[in-house]
Point group: C2
Chain length 376, copies 2
Amino acid sequence: MQSEQDHPHAGQPVDSQPVERESTGRIVISVDAMGGDRGPSAVVAGCVQSLRDNPRIDILLHGDSAALEPLIAREPALAGRLSLVHADRAVTMNDKPSHVMRHGKDTSMWSAIAALKDGRGHAAVSCGNTGALMAVSMLQLRRMEGVNRPAIACLWPARGHHGFNTMLDVGADVKAEAEDLLAYAIMGVTYFRNGFGEPRPRVGLLNVGTEEHKGRAEIKAAHELIARHEETGRYEYVGFVEGSDIPSERVDVIVTDGFTGNVALKTGEGTAKLISDLLRQSLTSGPLAMLAALLARGALRRLSTRIDPRRVNGGVFLGLNGTVVKSHGSADATGVAAAIGLAAKLAQSGYQGRMAERLVIAAKTAQDAAPSGEQE
Amino acid sequence: MQSEQDHPHAGQPVDSQPVERESTGRIVISVDAMGGDRGPSAVVAGCVQSLRDNPRIDILLHGDSAALEPLIAREPALAGRLSLVHADRAVTMNDKPSHVMRHGKDTSMWSAIAALKDGRGHAAVSCGNTGALMAVSMLQLRRMEGVNRPAIACLWPARGHHGFNTMLDVGADVKAEAEDLLAYAIMGVTYFRNGFGEPRPRVGLLNVGTEEHKGRAEIKAAHELIARHEETGRYEYVGFVEGSDIPSERVDVIVTDGFTGNVALKTGEGTAKLISDLLRQSLTSGPLAMLAALLARGALRRLSTRIDPRRVNGGVFLGLNGTVVKSHGSADATGVAAAIGLAAKLAQSGYQGRMAERLVIAAKTAQDAAPSGEQE
């Protein structure tokens, strides 16, 4: 079984054809069992759920076999579809990425990415330390040509007819130059197009206002670059967007640096949590309100599903020669299953090859171009 | 009538005693009638509401008298408590701040701030262009000693027993150095203490993680500085906080640069708006849900009031020799009245003098201190 991840030329664009695994029908997801806040039992429960949801998935599970074997033995549904790969240690949330890069070869996280690198798995999932996962992934999988800073993309519940927007970077790197922001636009668009079938996604650049004279220097430069590459990236550039536009119908892909994106993501999550807690309090504040909550429970459940962060669990690492999905550290079985499902969907889609082609073109034209006047 | 704004030494710390106007009992708010999205009629309606709410307020209203006189004539409640100051022009949302600084002397915004500078008003309110308002305010009122970058502070609905946290900067400047972030901590704490009577507010520094090795260089430097100045600023420093902590009970004052703060503020507002719209859809999705909405309407109204952005309308400019409140551009009468009420409360509190003293001490010790080892 050949996959795009074991392409012999690391750093080279991978084949843009649908990958060979499509013919064999099996999708192998390499899962790090350790490092989540809820421990390996939540991850194993998530594996059970994802295998039930998708009969084409097989799982390579990496972690401490003494802890995992009893959990696996209890689940007959895993027999024949889940293989255990023992790893002595686990990366903790407090480990520094640079330390894990140097001394982390015997960890379950390293092992999960190594399986992706050598082609045993088609995509990887981990609930562990984000910084360490990115460092280990960059070291083993290497960046795509034309990518200086890989990014993490998230899905965001939104008003548009797809129900979601995507935003990147939400935490891979605290900085981004104009060229990085252009690469994020191209990567985010390919991801969104493949995920939602939208032929020409709309890109917005996150700023503090929509007027052209506002914002930081690198953002003004990115504004020019992204506008110039509409044809290369096959997107429509809508210009600057603000925080309030993130869940709007104006835009599909929101581009920003990893510091701002991470703060925005967590602010949105925190706000949603506050409001849903206050709503719950309101609806238990007296007998009338409780009766109301009972009558409306179907409608409220649909709303809560619509904005449930577990449903869209999984930040996707873009710009690497391999598909890595970072699950929320606090993910439960439903969350882990969503991340595995997303990894499988991405592994099947062949988006990596198309993304690589566009990134190479954009990097070349951005390099060659005179600073002004270039039109495609 | 003497006020802290007409202190003869611009740039010097102002008197820390409650201002003299306390004895006369009248508080004069200088209001820019033009530049809001809803036009001068919303501002006049807000004036009516605020005068009704607070019998000690008088208003100086700045704008085009041809447009304003008929609006004022219709409201008998304004007689004797509102004086009109004619201005030929209005600043628009698209005007560049630098242009308004050079050519804006005949605008209503300029006039509103000038009244503050020469002591005719005790605090100013405008719904207009934020960048221009900050530029005009800096030019006329000058920065406090020890302040390099003034900041805009907002209130944020939160879980704590005060019901609000404050965050700054939410948009005065797209950049902030470590020393600016320290000044923001001191200014935000004085503001919060005077607003909510909290003797020792807790300060958090917004970052992408709570671990000490994370984040940008200027944030790591600010982390040290803010920790060292707990006694100068009379606050408790809780360390790094994340976007999800903004509405939490962990912290009272969230410190960040104006780019990140503005994105976070608007993301929070956008998320709250999305959820409340989806909730409204859910509760009109069928007869049972509509009956439920009817039964729960008291509880839902209390919730909606709790998170209503109009209730806490008004970003406060901190670090200037004068109190300027920036109302939301889209504010209606209730929003404008809230901003005028906030301006009046701040003008009475005497917080400016205490803030100035602490800023001078912090700036001096930060300058004198050896980079390490200083303890207070």
